[in-house]
Amino acid sequence: MSDKQVGVISCSGEECLGGTLSRLATRKVMENLRSKEVVTLCLPLYIAGGDEEREFAREYPVISVDGCDKCCAKRATVKYSNEVKDSINLSEIFSQEMMLANIVSGRDLKEEHYEMADQVADEICRKVDQILAE
């Protein structure tokens, strides 16, 4: 197993399904799929001035996971640390219209939403593995 680590900075947005799915997918990668290889960066803390988060994003490759075309996670990383190594925009995997749907609570999610989150989690893992293989 590689000692190299990859940061994942995810939209933790309110208001839209894309934010909820980004959060779910990143959580799954962090807790289950790539727990040793991935460090998640807390976006609210990162933007608020978290030195450790920003420093990590300067030194390690980072994948941004955004829920919609606003790309808050990617933009923040570029602004405060560095270019992202790779990025995922859920509205490109699914559709912008679907990602902006007003479903934010975990209690409202249906099986199809969890399947979408799994798909995003797999995509994050694919990119993590690609970076680690370089």
Binding site: S12, G13, E14, E15, G19, E31, T40, C42, A76, V104
Partner: protein, 285 residues
């Protein structure tokens, strides 16, 4: 009817407490007219939320001691109406937070407890105000040091702890605040973070905090009991504590659980006044 807020949660993705902040915000939004401010998008596009943040009372929900949501509110110059810290609430409710962001039964229970507190506070607050008979005329002894004047109430019923927090007792009810020594040492008080109504507090346990540009002062409760009211005026105008911490700047009210024992570790005016003078001489000497 439930209280309606503009809710600013931390939404952290690092700790379970961030997930609980999101959960509480969603409960408030789903069960009333509260609306959520996304802490990330607000930084990027503040015009999206400016109207909401000023039209409704602002509830800030921080997950941990980093207080990202509070910092954001300060940065945007927002007036905070109420603040909740999930980690503190967990401690008060004896709930140990796990590491997973997937909330377990206890963590969901905590979210529900916080939600219910937030939506019933107003009723408790009003009830407590109706039954507390605070004296209209307070007599003060004054100690002067250079240009500074330090007042201490001499009325019977006032007690003080070594942490410079006062308590006024009527029957099994208490009103609590900080002394002149605290407010003058802190200088301009800018924030008040209240403890939650309904919380059980032990003597000498933290019960909220006040903050100036100089420091944060943890309010160490002089008595044990249940918090029944918070002075909402100082949430909106913490400067009232500087104006008079004994009258309009009082902090909270409690129902006492063991004052006979608590009293043994408190000062009355006669024994507190020399303590105050010594502290003033040391601090402002």
């Amino acid at each position: 009817m439930n209280k309606s807020y503009a809710v600013l949660p931390c939404n952290g993705l690092d700790k379970c407490s961030g997930s609980i902040s999101k959960e509480v915000a969603e409960m408030l939004s789903e069960n009333g007219e509260s609306e959520i401010i996304c802490p990330v998008f607000y930084r990027i596009a503040e015009t999206r939320y400016n109207k909401l943040a000023t039209e409704k009372p602002l509830l800030v929900i921080d997950g941990c001691a980093t207080r990202c949501a509070s910092k954001l509110a300060v940065e945007k110059n927002l007036k905070i109406s109420e603040k909740i810290n999930i980690t503190d609430e967990a401690k008060h409710n004896n709930i140990i937070l796990g590491k997973s962001l997937r909330l377990n039964e206890n963590e969901l229970k905590l979210a529900k407890i916080i939600f219910e507190k937030l939506t019933t506070e107003e009723k408790l607050d009003t009830a407590a105000k109706d039954i507390f008979d605070f004296p209209m005329d307070i007599n003060y002894e004054v100690y002067k040091k250079d240009k500074f004047v330090f007042r201490v109430p001499t009325n019977e019923g006032f007690y003080f702890n070594e942490n410079d927090v006062w308590v006024y007792i009527i029957g099994n009810k208490a009103r609590i605040g900080v002394t002149d020594y605290v407010q003058k040492s802190l200088s301009d008080i800018m924030y008040f973070t209240p403890a939650s109504i309904g919380n059980e507090v032990e003597q000498f346990e933290d019960a909220g905090s006040i903050e100036s540009g100089k420091a944060v002062f943890e309010i160490i409760s002089p008595v044990s009991g249940r918090i029944t009211a918070i002075n909402n005026k100082i949430i909106e105008s913490p400067e009232l504590i500087n104006q008079n911490p004994y009258e309009q700047g009082w902090i909270m009210e409690m129902e006492l659980s063991d004052f006979i024992n608590d009293m043994e570790l408190l000062h009355d005016f006669e024994s507190y006044f020399p303590v105050l003078k010594r502290k003033v001489d040391e601090f402002h000497g």
